[in-house]
């Protein structure tokens, strides 16, 4: 209704929400990789995904947040839970949880983290803090324009910048569906 961003109406407690969501995301992310029981991991991952969706909302990207909730939390995670219930987790949770090369993996990951932090420390000045000029109130419409194209005033139609990629993505999904069906079928 009101497409201009009202800065006064922007969330007052932005830092509080940010730190809360970030902490939730990271702590539950930690739980994902440490839990013995895969269902607990999956539940923790759901918390992570929802926190990240909250972060998207704080970045004025409501459409991505909506997609995150509906596809990730509502779709993919249900699939994960489904599969966890199908495969026998009783045994898996009693076995050794980490593979033999875990020190190497941990070291490499820590090195990666150090690399990231180093890069951030060095390049901090390169990151301007600018505001997205597109209003939150029409985020969906803008994204739709980029993906599908738009109707111009004179009755003409213009393809969006990503329409072709969008079609390719649908093809990818189709292939994935076929692949999953064929893979899980008992007898082909």
């Amino acid at each position: 209704m009101n497409p201009t961003i009202n800065m006064a109406a922007a969330p007052v407690a932005t830092p509080v929400f940010f730190y809360g969501l970030a902490a939730a995301a990271i702590i539950s992310g930690l739980l994902v990789i440490t839990r013995r029981n895969a269902v607990h991991s999956a539940l923790a991952l759901i918390v992570t995904l929802l926190s990240v969706a909250g972060l998207y909302l704080m970045l004025y990207a409501p459409f991505v947040a909506g997609v995150q909730i509906i596809v990730y939390a509502g779709g993919i995670m249900v699939l994960f839970l489904f599969v966890i219930m199908l495969v026998n987790i009783e045994r898996a949770s009693k076995e050794r949880q980490f593979n033999r090369m875990w020190p190497v993996g941990l070291a490499a990951s820590c090195a990666l983290l150090a690399l990231f932090l180093g890069a951030f420390a060095k390049g901090k000045a390169l990151l301007p803090d600018r505001m997205i000029p597109i209003a939150e109130g029409s985020n969906t419409q803008e994204i739709a324009t980029q993906l599908y194209g738009e109707v111009l005033g004179n009755g003409q139609y213009r393809l969006g910048q990503y329409t072709f990629a969008f079609e390719i993505a649908s093809l990818l999904l189709l292939v994935a569906i076929l692949g999953a069906v064929i893979m899980t079928k008992k007898k082909i």
């Binding site: 932005t14 830092p15 940010f18 970030a22 990271i26 992310g29 930690l30 994902v32 990789i33 839990r35 895969a38 991991s41 992570t48 972060l55 998207y56 704080m58 970045l59 990207a61 459409f63 991505v64 997609v67 995150q68 596809v71 990730y72 993919i76 699939l79 994960f80 599969v83 966890i84 495969v87 026998n88 898996a92 076995e95 949880q97 593979n99 090369m101 875990w102 190497v104 993996g105 490499a108 990951s109 990231f116 932090l117 951030f120 901090k124 990151l127 803090d129 600018r130 505001m131 597109i134 803008e142 994204i143 990503y162 993505a169 990818l172 994935a176 999953a180 893979m183 899980t184 008992k186």
Partner: protein
């Protein structure tokens, strides 16, 4: 309080990314490895959306949507493979999946 800048989001994303790599590199259970991959993809998405806001255009957000699509495809196929594998070998451990053919 310090205002929240793009860097804050990048640090969160980096942390999630590293958690994801730790999961992929150290866990044995394939399901959890796949979940860690989702963590990594989410970290990337968070970066993209943060940069999208920083540069003031929507390309990052659209890329994030594509990555979500990709994650859905990856999860479907990955879990499909897992089920097919579990049916043959009754295991979900990565280090027991060490031959190309059964």
């Amino acid at each position: 309080m310090v205002p929240i800048t793009t860097l804050h989001y990048l640090v969160v994303a980096a942390a999630l990314f590293v958690l994801g790599t730790i999961g992929v590199l150290t866990r044995r259970n394939v399901v959890i490895v796949l979940m860690s991959i989702e963590l990594i993809l989410n970290a990337v998405n968070l970066n993209l959306v943060a940069f999208s806001r920083m540069w003031g255009n929507l390309h990052g957000q659209i890329f994030a949507i594509f990555i979500v699509v990709d994650a859905a495809a990856e999860a479907a196929v990955g879990l499909g493979i897992l089920i097919a594998f579990f049916r043959n070998r009754e295991t979900t451990n990565v280090d027991e999946i060490d031959l190309l053919k059964w």
